[in-house]
């Protein structure tokens, strides 16, 4: 059942077993999992079923670091940011969950194995059609897809599987609408999560609409699922009783904001002897039966452990035919390209041991674009601005800037890629990424992947939520979404968000079964 919150009479108090704040990927997943649970569930969504500019404007905020599009990087209506999701899916790797002695603040309290059964279920919800992400043999058997035979073990081929992309607000709308025990309140904004006087548990949710009416929801259990930035803002805004905000006894709420730094354009060129040596599935989504997939290059876990680095994923794009000849007097950045290609020809021995042809017709310049892991930092954070939104709530203030550690990390990973291609003997790499050790303004991009602001740790001094995603110190408040990520890995977060939401759903159901 959908209810327009603007029509709820002022002062109404609604009792419920479970309140879910936010109808994005996580919130819809949990609400859907609560079918037949016997619980009375209320799903609360700030927006309606379609985009609304006034509601979206509630996302506006201020930046103290890189100019980050706070109102454009997420969507505030039923389905949340899945309404503009690109659909790239891949689970985090084993190493992403581990405590890495070279990476301060790393180490989830759960492992990849703990999430494996939920990844399997998440692929259904995300409509992937397969979980065989790195089954090289399977891809070869099904479609004769081969990985690029790069030299060494440091740079490896990994696969993304694409969601349709699943717009959760469209695909699961009728499920949610028809589920008897779930009521969805649209155009309803939680303005505060109010705890009891002892701050032991959530007592009520204050709701306001842009039409001006206000009402209250009293839940037995509450899940905050408003996204990687808004989850932190909501906890900070919930400060009428606990002045520093909920779950913030150790000043952690909002800290450790992470992105996947996306360098705009290319970070490197690959000059390759024959464009066919980089198969199509590396530079375009490739359909194999019901599955749409694409190969990327990543760094092996062994390499990252040995070199004490973080992950990067790199996609390849065919760009252009190489320059045929250097123009006299041209000392520009591409002027050495013809020389590099002839060096490749000079040292390239074909399989039949004959020197390869000097013809350049098959040669190609590919670009490498990348998304790279960011080291968690307490100074990278969401706080409250002094400016207020249309509901009178303090807006978001984001302080985000990639660090020199992140820069060094990407430089080292690109050098590994250059070694792997060079030793293969069929390609050479030109690194475009700056060597100065600091991020240039033009190099600092993002993927709309907001992570880490209510990080997971068993120790309340190091995290906002525990391994069950329950807020430390509050008996009935849980957080769903990428804000609980302890570290971000180097892959898109949505599949992991859905897997974690499924895991939380099972936990909530087990709680209610046990009384």
């Amino acid at each position: 059942m959908f209810i327009d919150g603007r029509n709820v009479p002022d002062g109404t108090v609604i009792e419920t077993d479970l309140a879910i704040i936010g109808a994005g990927a996580a919130g819809i997943t949990i609400a859907r999992e609560m079918r037949n649970s016997g619980l009375k569930v209320i799903l609360i969504e700030s927006g309606g079923l379609d985009f609304d500019a006034d509601t979206q404007a509630l996302y506006e905020g201020e930046n103290k670091g890189v100019t980050y599009p706070l109102d454009g990087a997420r969507l505030r209506y039923f389905g949340g940011s899945t309404n503009h999701w690109g659909g790239w899916c891949r689970p985090l790797a084993d190493i992403d969950f581990e405590e890495r002695d070279w990476l301060p603040h790393s180490g989830w309290p759960i492992t990849r194995n703990d999430l494996n059964p939920f990844y399997a279920r998440a692929q259904d919800l995300c409509q992937l059609g397969s979980t065989d992400f790195d089954d090289h043999e399977g891809w070869r058997r099904q479609a004769n897809l081969q990985p690029i035979p790069l030299a060494g073990e440091d740079v490896v081929t990994r696969y993304f599987i694409f969601s349709q992309p699943t717009r959760f607000g469209e695909v699961y709308r009728s499920d949610i609408q028809q589920t008897q025990n779930v009521s969805t309140y649209l155009y309803s904004n939680v303005t505060e999560i109010v705890p009891d006087a002892m701050v032991n548990k959530v007592d009520r949710l204050n709701i306001a609409t842009l039409a001006g009416n206000r009402f209250i929801i009293r839940p037995q259990l509450c899940v905050l699922a408003t996204g990687g930035i808004e989850n932190a803002r909501m906890l900070l805004l919930s400060n009428s009783i606990q002045k520093t905000g909920l779950g913030n006894d150790h000043d952690l709420v909002g800290r450790y904001f992470m992105e996947h730094v996306h360098v705009p354009g290319q970070v490197a060129y690959i000059a390759i002897r024959d464009h066919k040596l980089i198969p199509d599935h590396y530079h375009a989504a490739t359909q194999i039966g019901a599955v749409s997939m694409r190969a990327v290059l990543m760094l092996s876990d062994d390499f990252l452990r040995r070199e004490k680095l973080m992950g990067t994923n790199m996609a390849l794009y065919p760009m252009r035919a190489p320059l045929a000849a250097r123009q006299d007097g041209d000392d520009g950045p591409d002027s050495l390209e013809p020389g590099v290609l002839q060096l490749l020809r000079s040292a390239d021995i074909d399989d039949d041991d004959q020197p390869s042809s000097s013809e350049a017709s098959q040669e190609m310049i590919f670009g490498i674009s990348c998304a790279t892991e960011q080291a968690p930092s307490p100074d990278s954070r969401v706080t409250l601005s002094h400016r207020r939104d249309a509901l009178g709530l303090q807006r978001t203030c984001l302080s985000w800037r990639p660090s020199p550690i992140d820069h060094h990390n990407l430089s080292r990973n690109l050098a590994a890629v250059a070694r792997a291609f060079g030793a293969w003997g069929k390609a050479d790499v030109r690194i475009l990424f700056s060597r100065e050790g600091v991020w240039q303004e033009a190099e600092t991009g993002w993927g709309c992947h907001h992570m880490g602001t209510t990080r997971m740790s068993q120790d309340p001094k190091h995290g906002v939520v525990d391994a069950d995603c329950k807020v430390h110190g509050l008996a009935n408040l849980y957080v769903a979404g990428s804000s609980v990520f302890t570290t971000g890995g180097a892959v898109n977060p949505t599949l992991t968000v859905v897997a974690l939401a499924l895991r939380l759903s099972d936990h909530l159901k087990s709680l209610t079964l046990n009384g």
Binding site: V340, Q342, R345, A347, D348, I349, R419, G425, R430
Partner: protein, 138 residues
């Protein structure tokens, strides 16, 4: 990565050694023509000397290498390629195979030169320097 310091060490010490050879009068026109033949044999592996020379020039400028004798470069290169099976009386295929093996090893060991962002094997970079020095001689 092959640094400027390493490049200077390599070519710098070589220059002194080379000067020493000259000062003891051990060179002769025979030795000189033999080395020129060696240089020519090595440069035969390049399909386009002109563009290779541009890389060599760019590297020398970028690392401010100063004067480097072609003889020294050729000696060092031939020594390395011999370790991969090359000999001066061999054919072009043998030269290319040795070059390919040396280049692969350079990359695996990280013996790489950065020339305007291009990551080039040290062996090939030195071949380019040789092409550059020969182009000046011509």
């Amino acid at each position: 990565m092959f640094s400027r310091r390493q490049a200077l060490k390599f070519f710098g010490f070589g220059s002194i050694a080379s000067a020493g050879l000259f000062s003891y009068g051990l060179t002769s026109s025979v030795l000189q023509s033999r080395n020129e033949a060696l240089q020519e044999a090595l440069l035969q592996s390049l399909m386009d000397r002109h563009h290779a020379a541009e890389i060599g020039k760019a590297w020398a400028q970028q690392y401010r290498l100063g004067f480097v004798p072609a003889k020294l470069v050729a000696d060092r290169l031939s020594q390395r390629l011999r370790a991969y099976g090359w000999h001066e009386n061999g054919d072009m295929r043998g030269l290319r195979q040795s070059l390919a093996a040396a280049v692969r090893q350079d990359f695996l060991e990280g013996s790489i030169v950065d020339v305007r962002g291009w990551q080039i094997a040290r062996t090939q970079a030195e071949l380019c320097v040789l092409a550059h020095l020969n182009s000046k001689r011509v």
